[in-house]
Amino acid sequence: MAMKTELREKQWVEKYPDVGTEPLPTEPYLSQERFALERDLVFRRSWINVGRVDEIPGIGDYFVRDIAICKASILVVRGSDGIVRAFHNVCSHRSNTLVLDERGTCPGRLNCHFHNWVYSDTGELLWVPDEENFFDLDKRDHGLTPVNMDIWEGFVFVHLDPEPAQTLQSYLGGVADQLAGCPFDKMPLSQTYRVEERANWKVGLDAQNELYHFPFQHRHVAGDAFRTNDKRQSRYQDLRLYNYHSVWSCEYGESHKLTPIASTLYKFDGILRAFTIPQMIGEMDFFTVFPNFVILLYQLGTSTSYLTYHFWPLAVDRTIWEIRVHFREPLSVRERIRQEYFKCISRDTLQEDTAMHEAVHSGLASRAKPHIILQDNEIAIRHFHKVMEDRIGAGLPT
């Protein structure tokens, strides 16, 4: 196959000179004050992905997602009218957390476990025990508190600002255009990993948001997996910086050798129907959706699939890295085992990543270095931090 990747140096800063070339300060990974600003000006004022509609296909199905940095617990439920809504997962009586499990199905109503106030699956307050003993209580005024929610290609996003500055569609901008019609619904969730890391949330996101480290940190598993130049340095096939988001794409390397197990699993299995995604740019596309969400599309044999990452900040130096693995319904046993194989070898790579995120955070926390230094292939990291600075700068009182 003809190579689409250009191998020359410093090509991306030529395309996007505005992101600059300067070193970036390390303090934003460490400062409590900065963490509070990220909470108030970024996480409370951005569209945050909390899951997918496929997770709640049936009437009364719900899931709960905590946006821990904002101390918010979000209940997403499909009501008896079939419509998906998001609410604060908080009872109107004395603010008990309403639903305690992470997912489930309610029989048309939700009960608070404290004094048994009952809500419909569309959020109205239906029943209050001993209602006569309250004072002028009008149930119509005390439904669940809705949270702004919108759905894009099956992804459920919420916005904690009661009046979002932008619609989800305009917020997603170029990402929404590029991935419009992408068949995410054909690739159901297969597995979720949640790893609590002793690192700032941006450390993990930065570490994932480049290909530079692959031939080194992942040399055993994926050292030659992606296209490199004659000095074995990674190069992108394409890179696009959007309003807040970015995507980089790459081609697989030609020299990548299959192991005995991989050769068996990638053998032609008689299935001629290749599953491809026309919205993809390269053979692997890494979309960073600001602030904390990643969609990673990749080819896998004759099939294509995707992972998502969420980086959920818990504290300035603690993060939950959530990894969701999706696969299409396998058409053969070989494909099913191949999916499992892909998941296992990815998990090994992720273990390398987690250890690295924590080691990087320790180094940053020593404050030995006031700056990090970025090269041209780390431009998506630079873009992310620029967006962050702009958001925080714009929100500060002048």
Partner: protein, 110 residues
């Protein structure tokens, strides 16, 4: 546990009988088995099962539309344990990922 008289693995794969303890689910149980095994055990498991993988897949394809009978299902789970340890034998040549965190931190929901 297999019922009396029921073979624990399909007859064609009775040579894999010593590796029945790798027929585990869910995924986390296979990761725990990997963590609890020595490299000698892992290599022995790999060396026996990997050359049989193609035959296992061909055998299992016949059951793909039906619920698998228990012996076939055990065979299938052994194939999943094989891919769980694949990197250790094929790439790392040791029991642990290089500079990696504890695999059990990847707590799966399955």
């Amino acid at each position: 546990m297999p019922a009396i008289d029921e073979p624990s693995l399909p007859e064609e794969f009775s040579d894999l009988q010593p590796y029945l303890e790798w027929a585990l689910e869910p995924e986390r149980a296979r990761t725990e088995m990997r963590v609890a095994s020595s490299m000698v055990e892992i290599r022995d498991f790999y060396d026996t099962v990997q050359p049989r993988l193609e035959a296992m897949i061909r055998y299992l394809e016949d059951f793909r539309d039906d619920p698998m009978p228990a012996p076939a299902h055990r065979l299938y789970l052994i194939s999943l344990s094989l891919v769980e340890v694949a990197n250790l034998v094929e790439l790392y040549k040791r029991r642990e990922v290089f500079e990696g965190c504890d695999p059990l931190r990847y707590a799966s929901d399955q």
